[in-house]
Structure formats: C-alpha cells, structure tokens
Amino acid sequence: MTVPDAARAVDTVWRLESARIIAGLARVVRDIDLAEDLAQDALVAALRQWPESGIPANPGAWLMATARHRAIDRLRRDERLRRNIGQLGHELEVRQEAAVIDGPAEFDAATDDDFVPDDLLRLMFVACHPVLSTESRVALTLRLLGGLTTDEIARAFLAAEPAIAQRIVRAKRTLASKQVPFEVPPAGERAERMGSVLEVIYLIFNEGYTATAGENWARPELCYEALRIGRMLAELSPANPEVHGLVALMEIQSSRLRARVGPAGEPVPLLEQNRGNWDQLLIRRGFAALLRAEQLGGPPGSYVLQAAIAACHARARAADETDWERIAALYEVLAVIEPTPVVELNHAVAVAMAFGPARGLELVDPLTSRPELRGYHLLPTVRGDLLARLGRPAEAREEFERAAALTRNGQERSVLLRRAAGCKSDP
C-alpha cells in the first residue's frame, strides 16, 4: 500500500486507540509524558512498516504491543526509571511488576487488556488534576483522551500552536514534579475530583456549542469530542449521577445544533427554533441518561438539574407547550446549589413565562445591581422583554439599546436594535 494510505490508516487507528494505549502504558511506567512518547514511537513504527506489511488485522493491538516493546527497551536501559517505578507505585501489584519487569511476559501481564477500562478512568482523573490550570486540563484532556493534535487543539481554541504545545509540555512536567499518582482518587476525594473532570468536559462542549457558525470549522468537533468523552465516562463511572446528568445535558443541547443557526448564519433563540430540526435520537439518548441519573437517587446535582430543564424544553413539541412551571421550580432548586446571577436570571425568565412578566420583573430588578452582571447583555435583554410585555415601551427601548451596546455579536446587536425600534409608546 502507499505511504499516504498507510498514513491515513495510522491516523484513523490512532484517533480510535491512542487514549487506551497511553492509559495502559501510563499505568505501568507511571509517567504520562513517557507513556505518550512510547505511544508515539509505535505510531512512527507503524508509518514505517505498514506500507510494506499492510495494515495489521488488529491495528490497536499491534500499536500496543510495539509500544510495550519500546517500554521494555527503555526500562532495560534506564536504571533510574526502574527505581522510580518501584518508588511511585505504592500498590503491591506495581512493586511486583517493577521488580520483575525483565521481559515481555511480565509486561504483557501488566498491560493486560482487561485493565483497560480503569486505565482510561485513571487517565481522565490525571489529565483533569486540580494541580493544573483549567486551560491546561482542557488541552491535556483533548490531547490524551481525544487524540487531537496540538494543531487541532490550537485551531479549536483560536490559539497559537506553540502556545498550546508549551501548555501541554508544562502540564505534563507539573504532573511529574508533583508526583501525581496514576490512580483513581480515593473515595473521599472522588466527588470533588470528578467535579473537575466534568467541568473540563463541559468547558470543551461549550467552547464548541457557543461558537458562531462558520467562523471556525473545527468547533462543532469540540461538541462531539466532549460528548464522546462524556459517554465514555458514563460507562466507566456508572454509579455517579452527575456524570449521567452532564451527558444528558450535552446530548439534549447537541440535539439543537442544526436548529440554532438560521440560513444567514444568525443565531436562532430556543423558543423560535424549528423543532422539526431537533435531533430526536439525541433527545432520546438524553432522556435515557437523565433516567439513569434519577434512578441512582439522592438529591439532584447541578448537571442533573440543568439536564432536567433541557429535557423540559425537549419534551415540548411546540414552544407554547413548554412546562414553564416545572422549569421555574427546577431553577429554584438549582439556584440553591448554584446561586450564580446567571442562574437567577434564567429563573426569573422561567417565572415570567409561568406566572407573568410582573412576577419575573420582581426577580430581575434586584439583579441590576449585581456587579457580576454588569457587562452581561442578556440582563437588559430580559428586562427589556418583560417591560415590553408590561406595556412600558419607553423603558423597554432603553433596555434593548443598552443590551445592543453590550453584545459583541453583530447579528445579535441588529436584532436588539430592531426590538428597540419596535417599542412604540402608546398614542
């Protein structure tokens, strides 16, 4: 086969397998950077050999075996590495492995495929370790779990490639210097560490979801990566309701991707979207994930609540069939565990829809003095809408103009200015 054919095949297999391979290697060599190095070595070997020998029947296993052999070579040559593995590994199992890794058989046993699911979970926790900045966690997650190249990550975040490369290098160095263990966090820390993982995944998702269509073709891919990693996590950690909650939220939000953008590339608000363009398969998956979360019991967390709100919208076949009272009640609970001004604003919107604009305005007015919302264009937008519905057009116009001045999105500004112009005072 030709070299370009082999390159494409290697690329494809790498995308599908790299996380698993790096995770399996990391468990034994206890160093993310070395694990990635060894995996890359195998990649290079594949690019060299597959054009001649053809693509192997089981390419993932081929790459893993090749990486293993490289690892054994390194261990043989590197006395200090062998000692480090012995030191860093505090489980008896690993100490035994470190002591006897002299040949392929022991290494095979250590990297047995049966261990793979837990390995991926370990890799996720490490990549999202709180010792790293959020930006670093995001980059490392996309790199190690998404298999994205540095260039792809850079384009997705509209950053320069060298900056991302540096960020990843420094992140791995920090993990090594802080001797972050390659393990699933102990039960006591699990919830908090999982929170960090979920935060990273949702950050990636939002990066892709809120991007303006057409500006950067790579960005919808981010939604996919986040969703895929989230789905994986749900299988690896099925007893955690917030994981299912996040997946449910992402599935349902993804279901609206095609409906969110109009023919001229303009953003279409949820209530005005053509629901025929909502992907019912994703909605169904979202409901299923939400059900799993609810079946696990316990008080609902933030993601489960947000997913339940998204499900309310998804369930309504038309905007006027939306169960606003239920949404308002859900926001009320969410506001208790996540009392951010944005949540309170959304709560106010739901209250207005369920119980009338006057009630909504009662909740919105206090928010105007909150410093965190000062530059947030949706606050005056909502206020303007409520005032218009209450027959106070002059005040409404002022709010829409204020909102137009605050938004950075050109199309949104036009929409807001039009609304302002449409506020006619009573004759």
Binding site: T12, L16, E221
Partner: protein
C-alpha cells in the same frame, strides 16, 4: 458524523462469535460511538408503491441476498473511522457483505 453500517449477508453466528460480538458491541458503546444497533428479521415485509398504490408482500423472500440482516448506527469523526470499525466487525464475523452509508443530519 453518523454512518449506518448494514450487513446483507454473513456467517450464522455460533456461540463463540456471539460472545465476541457482544464484547465488540459493549466496547463500541463504552467508547461513546455506538448510537443504535440490532439484528433484523430476515423475513420482513416488502412495500412497493406505484402512484401511491401500495403493494405489501410478506417475506421470507427468494432473493435473500438483498435483505439487510443487521445494522449499527455509529457516531464517528470520519468515514475512515467508520470503515475501521467495520473492519473490526468483519474480523469477528469473517465472511459476508455489507454497506456503510453516511446519515445526513446534524453537523
């Protein structure tokens, strides 16, 4: 990107093959790429319509070769990935025929 992967012919699975298939399906689910999958009743029912006048024919049918016997709907990054997954399926089933078609939709 979504692809519908169908098989129109394949070895009848023995116990070992069923077990391997089960593992494969579980693996695809676990990696977040499998949206739906199933085996189809080879008998089925054929519909043909001319000018809105519908003829319904119950199977099984003589030309069994054309009947789709199983499908998997996958969510992947590229057609290459779908093909790669298909290859792994055929490692298990060994002999048979099928198709991969992109499902147009949200992108």
């Amino acid at each position: 990107m979504r692809f519908l992967m169908t098989t129109t012919a394949g070895d009848a699975p023995d116990e070992t093959m069923m077990a391997e298939m089960g593992r494969f399906v579980e693996e695809l689910s676990r990696s977040g790429v499998l949206l739906a999958t199933g085996g189809l009743d080879p008998a089925g029912t054929r519909i043909s319509s001319k000018d809105g006048k519908v003829t319904v024919t119950d199977g099984p049918f003589a030309e069994a070769k054309e009947a789709i016997i199983s499908f998997a709907l996958v969510d992947v990054r590229s057609k290459d990935e779908a093909i790669e997954l298909s290859k792994r399926f055929w490692q298990i089933v060994k002999n048979g025929e099928g198709a991969i078609q992109q499902v147009f939709g949200p992108e």
